[in-house]
Symmetry: C2
Amino acid sequence: MEELDERKVKILNAIIQNYLETGEPVGSRTISKSSDLNLSSATIRNEMSDLEELGYIVQPHTSAGRIPSDKGYRFYVDHLIAEKDEEISDIKDLMIEKTEKMEKMLKQVVKVLANNTQYATMISAPAITGTKVKFVQLSQVNEHQILSVVMMSGNIVKNKLIDVEEPLNSENMLKLNMLLNTNLNGLTVSDINLTLISRMKAQAGEFEDIIEQVLQTLAETIVDEEDTEIYTSGATNIFKYPELADTQKASEFISAFEEKEELRNLIADIETEGEEKGTGIQVYIGDESPIQTMKDCSVVTATYELGDGVKGTIGIIGPKRMDYKNVMDNLSHLKKQLDQMLKNNEE
Amino acid sequence: MEELDERKVKILNAIIQNYLETGEPVGSRTISKSSDLNLSSATIRNEMSDLEELGYIVQPHTSAGRIPSDKGYRFYVDHLIAEKDEEISDIKDLMIEKTEKMEKMLKQVVKVLANNTQYATMISAPAITGTKVKFVQLSQVNEHQILSVVMMSGNIVKNKLIDVEEPLNSENMLKLNMLLNTNLNGLTVSDINLTLISRMKAQAGEFEDIIEQVLQTLAETIVDEEDTEIYTSGATNIFKYPELADTQKASEFISAFEEKEELRNLIADIETEGEEKGTGIQVYIGDESPIQTMKDCSVVTATYELGDGVKGTIGIIGPKRMDYKNVMDNLSHLKKQLDQMLKNNEE
DNA sequence: GTTAGCACTCATAAAAAAAGAGTGCTAATA
DNA sequence: TATTAGCACTCTTTTTTTATGAGTGCTAAC
């Protein structure tokens, strides 16, 4: 808070608060009346002039009030957000209605979050990389097809049909299953290297083709998951914020949410970066966001964790004048819940 | 064509053609110049006046040109669309890039279709109801968990973890698997009635709990699929058509695509209804569509089929002035491809 | 240091004017 | 009788003009 004395901070805060609510540039008179420091509009004007010079606020045009700059928002997020922990409606009750399946749960989570915050939301499914093979099973479906079932930690199950020339007898099948399980069990996918592969093939003898295919399935599983599944909700909330609602911008924004490609990049970027003062939450204001389409927005994200270093990201995207406090609280609350839920599920 | 003589038909056609392109009301002068029947604008005006009286076209306001009414579009779709089969880029090549998984394929299909047509598109995954159980397999994952894998016709695989007090020995496991397969194989889910259930439980003896759970999984599978998965693409194409692009409408439209609830109803409605002169294609113009949000749109759908009466629906939603010809051609082409692909996959 | 006062700026809203597209009707024409 | 040219009239759309008003910066007084 070097360059700002207490009064300036108060005024800046008042400006931002007001702007968050209204979305309109705020003038000196408004502040003069609303804030508790009894100062005339003229005095405020002088201070505002200073604040502008320091880069915390800007004027859209000569005779308009001021709006926060990215730097202003940044200051707000870093220093001005009150610490009190508001009551947040427990999402747990809403979402656990027999949602056995991860996918359904995640879909519900983003939806609830979008409803709670009235912004656009996204969540990435926990990435499979680093998870371990828990269980492999081949079964003969009919004469020419074998079904391979692979279960990874986190109870993620992958199936694949493998075509074969002729059926395996049950003895061979048993052998193969043994072979696969003893060799693969507990390994992460990156552990499966060439040495291991050739050893397994050697052991499999005439059935090396099948091994080949199972391993390939595993590899594909990874590739599959490399472009992580992302679930979104509330993209149309953007229309609630006039500064983002013109057709041009809205179209791009919503397209980005439909395509999900950019979101994927965003998440990739985020997962490598730091976080906001130890809360596990990251805030990107305007240009700070790595993704161009969102330069008029702010992005707030949290990372949730399964056991084995498996991570997913949950994020909210809205106008710069977003209710940071509420959003951050919601996210950190949700993060905790997810962490906990997934851990339970893991056992 | 009772009430319309040849010339009126020609004029109506010209009006619609023109409106499809421009989206602007078309005046008598335009028609007079563009069409091949050499008539003055005055004559056209008289004819247009008649056409309006008959309800095929309307005037947005007194001194504007005419635009087609729903009745006009309907006439166009029923009688005026040329029959020639234009070349349509083969979607097959684009989509079969090792898309083993139905889901991915469907996602790609809607995307390609949206790209080809520049409208919003949707596709419903083939409903599982009526498919048959092909294969069931239980396997011991660890001491307290059994994985049940059920494969249905169409190669749809469902997994479920079942908790057990203590592990089954391999002999019992084998027995249970036998039991399940012999009893369930080839049955549709609706075939599984109480008689069968109690018989199976009796046979299972002390393991009736497990049978119970497997069957429950099957039941849940159905419920899961009852609200069919729907994939969409190109919702933002709506912004390309000014008559639909105002924030209000666009927001509703895109929300409907995000929620998918209304689309689901739409599809449910459609699957019970008739089709356009034996092409397997249905066209809903404006109010003809059962869903309110789309009353300013037209909806064109096709139903594709897997073997056993398992159906899915693919649809295009766009402005009333949609390029019906192109859309219908695209759909019927795609329908054929899907039918074929899925049949291959089925074997 | 603070404030009242005032001239000035500039976006926005409202009002007025102009332009244009298209019609309906009438009377002339083939 | 069917077609067409011509013209007045209607409405929307666009452009121009004219307020309106919020908000500033600066100066001078407190």
